[in-house]
Amino acid sequence: MNEFIRGLKRGFPICLGYIPVSFTFGLMAVKLGFSPLQATLISLTNMASAGQFAGIRLIEGGAPYIELVITTLVINIRYFLMSLSLSQKVSPDISFGKRSVMAYCITDEVFALAAMEKDEVSFPFFGGLMTTPILGWTGGTLLGAIASGLLSPELQGCMGIALYCMFIAIIIPPAKKSRKVAMAVAISALLSCMFKYVPGLNMLSQAGGGGWAIIVSAVLGAAFSASVKENKRRRKPSEERSQYES
């Protein structure tokens, strides 16, 4: 029970952060023709920011099922990597049933907090960690969907930046402390920009909803940093995580 409470406390800031972002999602979904109930249900069942935004645009455009599945797969494939990473962080004794509950809420932010734990991640802790973010994400969506008529299009537009700035706030502190993280994220950002602006590449990256450009950029950036040797310090970053994750 103590572990659950500790998880609740750790997860609460994520809940607060999710509200403006999911609010924007609710606004956009209603704008595209979804009902507030549908929008809230999508948030509750997906718990996935970028994947949901891409999904509702495709559904609104009447995309074929296969395109929706492939786009969702590509944009959300990062959760596969996070889930794999988390599988190394939990006790091997945790049952499949409990794991299937935990898997539901592997989001960028919840994963980041779980990864920061010094010891193994327990089921009650993760349960506490995911509780308020789920409420914040679905509740924020509902609020945004209901409030969509009250805000001007310009104001709605400006709220779209909230999600990205949250990402920036997750990336920069570890990049500041580790040169290899900084290199990895810089390469990923550069490649992602190239996929958007370099003629030829940008045509390619439109295929399949455009989500794969993100994956290719991220995999190359991470592979680069995992492969280079640091001259000054021989220690591998996975052994010094606690330094820049606390």
């Binding site: 104001l155 930046i161 909230a162 706030a169």
Partner: protein
């Protein structure tokens, strides 16, 4: 929109996303020893977020319904968010301040200019 179509799409989104998440955590019980893979898995979340953010953040303040374009409000708000993140302010504060800056540049500045 066709209700049936939307319902099937919603289910497909859920099923796809959940399968992605449950497969590794549900079935991988062995601890990995390979340091390269451990490092790679450690960098991946940051890299994904970085690739998602750039360059899309610069288009993110486009008014609802308009064609996405780079705007001054997004550029300035991004710079403020980067500075605040460098100083290690929390996620929520960074996001809220960035939205406030974007609103000010996008709507406040034109209003102030119109007074003169």
């Amino acid at each position: 929109m066709n209700l049936n179509y939307v319902a099937i799409c919603m289910f497909l989104m859920f099923a796809t996303t959940y399968m992605i998440r449950v497969t590794p955590l549900g079935f991988v019980r062995r601890k990995m020893e390979n340091l390269w893979i451990k490092d790679f898995l450690f960098y991946i979340p940051f890299c994904v977020l970085s690739a998602m953010t750039f360059p899309d953040v610069l288009y993110s303040t486009t008014a609802a319904g308009a064609t996405p374009h780079v705007s001054m409000s997004a550029i300035i708000a991004t710079m403020v968010a980067q500075l605040m993140s460098w100083r290690e302010r929390g996620l929520v504060l960074v996001a809220v301040v960035a939205v406030a800056v974007a609103v000010f540049v996008e709507m406040g500045v034109p209003y102030i200019m119109s007074l003169f």
